[in-house]
């Protein structure tokens, strides 16, 4: 069972109040909110290529939103700078339960070429529970799509090859 499913199950069982939300995988469309948390912009450019290009995202039930309040998945590109860390946290907290975290590119996973320093915290790997990590510097739009599809498929494949 994928991490997303486990998280969705736990959230629905342990949620303090309110109606039980359907698990993330049954939602259609699956809504993504993209945050670029620093980096050279290559990964965000590839995410943009995926969003705006001819990849058939809408047909696959994947949409991107401008508001984290309606998002199911947080898609992070770039290394997490100290200035962006509270922003990423705020976006995550604004998202309704159940929710998932997708780290796209080497920077978002472990900092890649931009490891921790005075202005940078590094990747999400050691700081948050990442549901799907898509390596590459940058990963291609096809690799990102494959990673997103793996979230929807019944067989878990959290780490994709670049």
């Amino acid at each position: 069972m994928s991490t997303v499913l486990i998280r969705a199950l736990f959230t629905s069982l342990l949620a303090p109040a309110g109606p039980a939300l359907p698990p993330v995988v049954s939602r259609s469309p699956l809504v993504f909110f993209h945050v670029d948390s620093g980096g050279c912009e290559a990964c965000s450019l590839e995410v943009e290529a995926l969003r705006k290009g001819d990849y058939g995202l809408a047909e696959a039930g994947i949409v991107f939103t401008d508001a984290p309040r309606v998002a199911d998945m947080l898609l992070v590109t770039g290394t997490c700078t100290r200035m962006m860390a509270p922003v990423v946290k705020a976006a995550w907290e604004a998202m309704p339960q159940p929710k998932g975290l997708l780290a796209v590119g080497a920077c978002a996973i472990d900092g890649g070429p931009f490891a921790e320093n005075y202005a940078v915290l590094g990747g999400l790997e050691k700081r948050a529970s990442v549901d799907c990590a898509i390596p590459g510097c940058p990963p291609t739009p096809d690799a990102i799509l494959q990673g997103i599809v793996s979230l929807l498929s019944p067989t878990p494949a959290p780490i994709m090859e670049a």
């Binding site: 912009e41 705006k52 001819d54 700078t81 200035m83 962006m84 509270p86 320093n117």
Partner: protein, 543 residues
């Protein structure tokens, strides 16, 4: 007794001004081991700043290394065309945390001075802009690159903004946007004061994307620094790789084969097409021309796929390194010159197909789409006086009538005719038109380079990559490249077998301040489209 020379009509020859030129002032300083760098005393530095008031020398960059401030000039004006790259570097040893700044006289210096203040805690006296650029109090220390950085007191709850405009305060509204808006602008925050249906004030909060490139590219191996140079920002990755590599080659006195120069130039033109297409696609998308945006995005993606197939690099990262080009042709592990040339020829052919088909269709569609042509006329206008004061280049400068183009004096472009498109309107529509014309020119140049790659001359088939041995003794090198948005300049200091320091000059810092000024007065509904027409990369501003 000497008789002064007499001109026709009996007028005396005017005596030359006694004020020395920038060149003379800098060259009067103490010589260093580097032929183009001179150490100035504080008095000479003051004279230099004053002298800039009426000297055509252009300030390309201003950096600090903790012990001294270095000002990098080009004699005679913006390099390009008749004015070649004739650099001069003036260094001032710091005796305290202050130095006389340039921004009151050369407004181009403002982003450099702001960066030096944030990173080193060293202030420019008489600075035109004293706002922070990247340090907003979130870092672990203040002045992180200084010898003794001070621990930061922690992030303040709210960023500081200037007092709202009186009209906005009385009857307008303040809108905030970013740094995570779900859009394409990257991590940056805009604060707009809107009144009477017009954007009256624009404040940009930068620093969210600051990664410390200057610190990362100091005291590292050549390979690491070369990799990082391509990750300054993806819109000009190749231009930065090229500038860094050429600076290193210049420092060690290495000359690369002309073919390598042509390959780098060809790849740089592909990058120009990429970046312009991305910028146009974003502008069209923000203006509401969805079909046009989809065509532009698709064209960009097709070009990326073609690059991936032909040279193994989708976004042209890691293509250039000191000593040559490092292309990985798909399916061939061993880099062989013939295979590289074959791959490049294929690439040129594919791009030529795009130039004669898709590109012309997209250009025609753009001209027929009112929301990106007539609706952007007069919006986000950059006055010629501002463009001249900031010595703007790239699409923004060219749309204001400034035609300086470094490619005209670059060795790598020899044998290729360069026509730099120029317009005089200075508005968003003109910028987009210039980008289309620039793409057309780049396509023509790529076709010309393609003919060079077919040369069967054995002498031309020198190895495409020769590793550079970094010497133990200190050596310095510089290089400048015409990037997609203007002049990109690197100064590299090598010592003890590694890269001691790298100074980077990016046009984005200046463009961002121009964008801030030009967006005042535009309609809020067109704000995003006009902003996108500038093509400013946040990663390049923040570094």
């Amino acid at each position: 007794m000497s008789i002064p020379p007499i001109l026709f009509g009996g007028a005396l020859v005017t005596q030359e001004s006694s004020r020395p030129s920038v060149r003379a002032l800098v060259r009067n300083g103490q010589k260093t081991e580097t032929a183009w760098r001179f150490e100035l005393t504080e008095d000479a530095w003051f004279d230099l700043v004053e002298c800039l008031r009426d000297d055509p020398a252009v300030l390309l960059g201003l950096w600090c290394d903790g012990k001294a401030v270095h000002a990098f000039f080009n004699e005679g004006g913006v390099p390009g065309g008749e004015v070649g790259l004739r650099p001069l570097m003036a260094s001032l040893a710091l005796e305290g945390p202050r130095y006389r700044g340039f921004s009151a006289i050369r407004r181009r210096a403002a982003p450099f001075e702001r960066m030096i203040r944030d990173l080193w805690g060293i202030e420019a006296m008489d600075a035109a802009d004293t706002r922070p650029l990247v340090d907003r109090g979130a870092w672990t220390v203040t002045a992180p690159l200084a010898e003794r950085p001070v621990p930061a007191s922690g992030m303040t709850d709210m960023p500081e903004f200037s007092t709202p405009d009186p009209l906005v305060a009385a009857q307008g509204m303040v809108f905030s946007r970013g740094p995570a808006s779900g859009g394409t602008e990257g991590p940056v925050h805009f604060r707009l004061g809107v009144a009477n249906g017009r954007v009256r004030t624009v404040e940009t909060l930068t620093g969210f994307a600051h990664r410390g490139m200057e610190a990362r590219m100091a005291g590292v191996s050549l390979a690491d620094a070369a990799g990082l140079s391509g990750r300054i920002h993806v819109g000009a990755t190749l231009a930065h790789q090229w500038a860094f590599s050429a600076a290193v080659e210049q420092a060690v006195g290495m000359t690369v084969a002309p073919m390598i120069g042509h390959i780098r130039a060809m790849l740089c033109e592909i990058e120009r097409i990429y970046t312009h297409l991305t910028c146009l696609a974003r502008t069209a998308d923000a203006a509401g021309a969805e079909m046009l945006a989809a065509r532009l995005y698709k064209a960009r993606d097709i070009l990326s796929r073609v690059c991936q197939a032909a040279i193994g690099r989708r976004l042209l990262l890691d293509c250039v390194a000191p000593g040559g080009v490092t292309l990985a042709i798909a399916g061939h592990e061993q880099l062989h010159e013939d295979v590289v040339l074959e791959g490049l020829r294929t690439l040129c052919e594919e791009i030529a197909v795009f130039g004669t088909g898709d590109f012309l269709d997209i250009q025609a569609l753009w001209r027929a789409t009112g929301v990106v042509t007539s609706a952007l006329v007069g919006e986000g206008q950059v006055p010629r006086s501002l463009a001249d004061a900031l010595m703007l280049g790239g699409a923004v400068g060219r749309s204001c009538g400034r035609g300086a183009d470094l490619r005209q004096s670059m060795e790598a472009y020899s044998g290729v005719r360069i026509r730099t498109p120029v317009a005089i309107e200075g508005d968003a529509a003109a910028r987009c038109r210039i980008r289309f014309e620039d793409i057309a020119e780049s396509l023509r140049m790529i076709a010309a380079f393609s003919a060079m790659f077919t040369a069967e001359d054995e002498a031309e088939r020198a190895s495409f990559f020769t590793p550079v041995q970094v010497p133990q003794e200190r050596c310095e090198g510089y290089a400048a490249v015409e990037g997609p948005d203007g002049l990109i300049c690197h100064v590299v200091i090598l010592q003890a077998g590694q890269v001691e320091r790298t100074f980077i000059a990016e046009p984005a810092g200046v463009l961002q301040s121009v964008q801030e000024t030009a967006l005042q007065g535009c309609s809020p509904s067109k704000f995003d489209a006009v902003r996108c027409s500038f093509g400013v990369s946040v990663a390049a501003v923040d570094l």
